[in-house]
């Protein structure tokens, strides 16, 4: 270091800021090279350190700065992961899953108590059912992308950027949905699947519901599930009011969906307000480069799409198998529908177990970082595997308890479920969804360790097995065998994802670095 440098840094308050910045990033530097790297990562080039502080290059600046930052760190300065209390985890997980499970249950109960109040006309019902499924599939990808990117920027305390990125993804999602809606309209017309009124209604419902799911997904970024509850409640009130006033089922459903969407959109601006209000967010923030944004969001997008596609693949297979009947391109047998709706309800409620299991694993994963495992990777791996096994047991236990409870309640309240076809569908569906729940827990573990593409690969194969198996079996032996495809696909998913998790945890040091 030159004398000039000493003089410059002595009078330049910017150098103190640099030291503070380096300390904030890395309180305990390993060596001068690390100091150099941190300085460069903060945007200082050779030219800049020469110009501002008089050092010959960043290496010289690093060597000068290292002794100032290598001092011993006190106990209070030692990094410790923020351990969320178990009660908070349970509450959050329960809220995030029940917020959708309760409305689903309400609609399910209403269908049983007042079927005429909920039943759409037969000419449009299949188109609307398909619109609902495909809206969840298409928007599922965007919801994942929105939530993951939103959480990332909120975690970095950049709500302005989060808002910008989420709004861009939402706009892109809406445009994609409209394109898919038009594409669906063309396919339906070209292959003469439905009459024009049903096609138009289906496309409308698809776009409307897709946007609705994406808007609801935005509230998950800051765990503000109560906002979803408000929007859904407004929708329920609208639907009940219109129906009791003698409104048509379709009109009431669509108006209720519009109400939910409007109630959601009104609240979106408050999600990114942070401590201040939405109006105080900086306006000069620029969107990250599109290619970078796409690179980070694509795997999560596919994960969301595949997850919902897997959830409905068996119904698509069953619906087309029953459609061997002329003039009915898509129809699911009532007993199959009942069994699978109960199984899906079980999954929706039991998803809180998956969420809790995943959150507890994440907490344990971070807590293990505090323990010294120097040159003892096997112990570290064993500790992580123990956390994984506990999470699996918790997920499975929760699912079994909820499945038994729902099946017992259904047997008492629903005489139709006692039909052999419905009962066997429920049992097979529960088994399939239990495997899926375990697979989803593994997926959460792999996402924690940033192995998103591994999840996408396994879910893709599982979906193909589900679709192909369900399609062939349902067409060869009857619609009710579509659930066997779900069982096969979910079985594959849980086995392959467990193997991947075990293999990842064997190299837990590497996994930890990635995570």
């Amino acid at each position: 270091m030159s004398l000039n440098a000493e003089r410059v840094q002595a009078v330049d308050p910017g150098f103190d800021e640099l030291v503070a910045a380096v300390r904030a990033v890395r309180p305990r530097l390993v060596d001068a090279w690390e100091a150099t790297a941190v300085i460069e990562s903060l945007g200082y080039t050779d030219a800049r350190v020469q110009q501002e502080f008089g050092f010959s290059d960043t290496r010289a600046a690093g060597e000068y700065l290292y002794p100032m930052c290598r001092g011993p760190v006190g106990p209070s300065e030692r990094w410790a992961p923020t351990a969320e209390p178990a009660v908070a985890i349970f509450t959050r997980a329960a809220a995030s899953t029940l917020i959708y499970a309760v409305p689903w249950l309400s609609v399910f109960v209403a269908q049983i108590l007042r079927p005429e109040a909920m039943q759409a006309p037969m000419r449009v019902a299949p188109a609307l059912a398909l619109a609902l499924m495909f809206s969840l599939i298409v928007s599922g990808g965007f919801v994942q992308a929105i939530v993951r990117r939103g959480e990332f920027y909120i975690g970095m305390r950049q709500p302005g950027m989060a808002r910008l990125v989420v709004e861009a993804l939402l706009r892109f999602g809406i445009a994609t949905t409209v394109v898919f809606g038009l594409g669906g309209l063309f396919v339906g017309w070209y292959f003469e699947l439905f009459a024009w009124p049903a096609l138009i209604l289906g496309a409308d419902a698809f776009v409307l519901m897709s946007v609705l799911w994406m808007v609801c997904g935005i509230f998950a970024i800051r765990q503000q599930h109560w906002r979803v509850a408000i929007a859904l409640f407004a929708g329920f009130i609208t639907f009940a009011g219109l129906r009791s006033a003698g409104g048509d089922v379709i009109m009431s459903q669509l108006t209720a969906a519009v109400t939910v969407l409007a109630a959601g959109l009104l609240q979106v601006r408050y999600v990114f307000g942070g401590a201040g209000s939405a109006a105080t967010l900086p306006r000069h923030i620029k969107l990250p480069r599109l290619s970078v944004l796409v690179y980070w969001t694509v795997p999560y997008f596919w994960y969301g799409v595949l997850y919902f596609a897997f959830l409905f693949a068996d119904r698509l297979a069953a619906g087309t198998a029953a459609a061997a009947v002329p003039n009915a391109p898509f129809s699911i047998p009532a007993a199959y529908n009942l069994g699978m709706e109960l199984a899906l309800l079980t999954l929706l409620v039991a998803a809180s177990g998956v969420e809790v299991g995943g959150a507890l694993f994440g907490r344990g994963f971070r807590a293990e970082a505090l323990r010294p495992f120097v040159r003892d990777g096997a112990t570290f791996a064993a500790a992580l595997q123990r956390h994984h096994r506990r999470a699996m047991a918790l997920t499975l236990g929760t699912f079994v308890v909820i499945a038994v409870a729902i099946a017992a309640l259904a047997q008492r309240a629903l005489p139709e479920i006692r039909m052999p076809e419905a009962w066997s569908t429920l049992i097979a569906g529960d088994l399939g969804y239990a495997c899926l729940a375990l697979g989803l827990l593994n997926a959460l573990v792999l996402l924690e360790m940033r192995r998103v593409w591994a999840v996408v690969h396994e879910l893709t194969t599982a979906l193909l097995i589900n679709l192909a198996g369900g399609y062939v079996l349902s067409h060869a032996f009857g619609s009710f065998h579509a659930v066997d495809g779900l069982l096969l696909g979910a079985g594959y998913f849980v086995v392959s994802s467990t193997i991947t998790v075990q293999q990842t945890l064997k190299r837990s040091d590497y996994a930890y670095a990635l995570g």
Partner: protein, 437 residues
């Protein structure tokens, strides 16, 4: 149906056939530096994709799972297989590279480079096919009927596959079924378009064999010479053209394989010969049908009957009607909307004069086709399985005429005692009654 609509439908069917059975597999195979002409790839790729279709369609039909989605999946099997074979050992790398380049091209708004298309090389077959499509405009008349009775067997089997009624092993019917689903066209149109394409492709395959044996200079004359064949050749069953095409492709590939010792050509030859053998399967015990060639077209139905049936078939999906007609029209409108004329006569004869009588066929509208002059295909229909499977009354022209007259009496009696009955079409050969409930 107007001449233009028929030509457009045929053009669309041909486009679907060429795109899915030839274009996409050729794109999956990629460019061949060692091939003297890209036209040389047309035959082998069609043979490969056709063989895949011939295997997959009966499998899908056996589980009642053949529909437009599976038709698209089946059409995609061959390109995917060829692509995997092309990138064997490096599939995941090639896939990742392809997907990434596509995504980043889309994001950076760079135009995707289309496959190279040499106009000089493709002008002859494209012009030839266009000329064949335009031929009806030159002659001033178009005919949507099948000109060879044996083709009704193929159409019959195509209908069986489409309805999922039976598992049928007929590569030609399987191809027609896949194209029918993808093109969303009537199987009669598809059968006619495939017939046209096969004639041209057989000529092309013959031209390529001549060019390979005699030298490149012969390519264009050989290909160009094949085009008029489509118009002026004697009438042979479509299956005969298909078999000849497969054999020519097999022989050409075998010749190149022996000459150049490239394994790929050996596989092409094998695929083509297997396809040729499988094309003979539906004709086992009836091989003379394949060599039954005629100098004139021999029809099983009146031209107006086919046109009127196709017109009805294009009506909206949710309209409620039934066609009462001789069995040939069953293949043109599908089984769900067809009622056999002989059954109609035996069920309603002598009852329709009563004013309280109503046709209890469960539909809002009935169309009745009456042949005022019976069609006599003569010896050409002998041995055709579809014809043999029909009631004897349809096989004897006099009986067929009598059946038509009885049906006419039924309709006239009904018209005298009921309103809402009209003659929809009458040209002296065919009369179509429209009866509304």
């Amino acid at each position: 149906m107007t001449m233009l609509a028929a030509a457009l439908t045929s053009a669309w069917v041909l486009f679907c056939l060429v795109f899915f059975a030839i274009g996409v597999p050729m794109a999956a195979l990629g460019p061949f530096a060692d091939r003297r002409s890209r036209l040389l790839n047309v035959g082998p790729t069609l043979a490969c994709s056709w063989l895949t279709i011939a295997i997959s369609v009966p499998l899908a039909a056996s589980v009642h799972g053949f529909n437009w989605v599976t038709a698209l999946v089946i059409a995609g099997i061959c390109p995917v297989g060829l692509w995997l074979a092309r990138h064997r050992g490096t599939c995941s790398i090639a896939f990742r590279h392809t997907v990434r380049s596509l995504i980043f091209r889309a994001l950076t708004l760079r135009a995707v480079r289309l496959p190279q298309f040499t106009v000089r090389e493709w002008i002859v077959p494209l012009a030839g096919l266009s000329a064949l499509l335009a031929w009806p405009f030159v002659t001033g008349r178009s005919d949507v009927r099948l000109p060879v009775p044996a083709d009704f067997d193929t159409l019959w089997r195509t209908r069986q596959i489409l309805s999922g009624a039976a598992t049928v092993l007929d590569p030609l019917a399987s191809l027609a079924a896949v194209v029918t689903r993808i093109a969303a066209a009537n199987p009669l149109h598809v059968a006619g378009a495939i017939r046209l394409a096969l004639v041209v492709l057989t000529g092309l395959a013959a031209g390529m064999l001549v060019a390979e044996v005699c030298g490149r200079l012969w390519t264009i004359p050989a290909v160009a010479g094949a085009i008029p064949v489509g118009v002026f050749v004697p009438w042979a069953p479509a299956a005969t053209w298909a078999f000849t095409f497969a054999m020519l492709v097999g022989v050409t590939s075998l010749y190149i394989w022996i000459r150049d010792c490239r394994p790929r050509d050996g596989w092409y030859a094998l695929a083509a010969f297997v396809l040729a053998a499988s094309l003979l399967l539906p004709f086992i015990g009836n091989l003379d049908m394949l060599v039954r060639v005629s100098s004139t077209a021999q029809y099983l139905e009146h031209s107006a009957a086919a046109e009127q049936a196709l017109q009805l078939d294009r009506s909206p999906a949710d309209s409620d009607w039934l066609l009462v007609a001789p069995p040939e029209q069953q293949l043109e409108v599908g089984k769900g909307r067809f009622y056999d004329l002989a059954r109609f006569v035996s069920r309603f004869r002598g009852r329709t004069g009563d004013p309280n009588f109503r046709f209890d066929l469960g539909v809002e509208r009935i169309y009745v086709f009456i042949e005022e002059r019976p069609v006599d295909p003569g010896f050409a229909a002998v041995g055709v399985r579809f014809v043999a499977a029909q009631p004897a009354a349809y096989q004897v022209p006099r009986e067929r005429f009598r059946l038509g007259q009885l049906a006419r009496e039924i309709c006239d009696d009904y018209a005298r005692s009921h309103a809402r009955t009209a003659i929809r079409y009458d040209d002296g050969e065919l009369r179509v009654y429209q009866i509304d409930r």
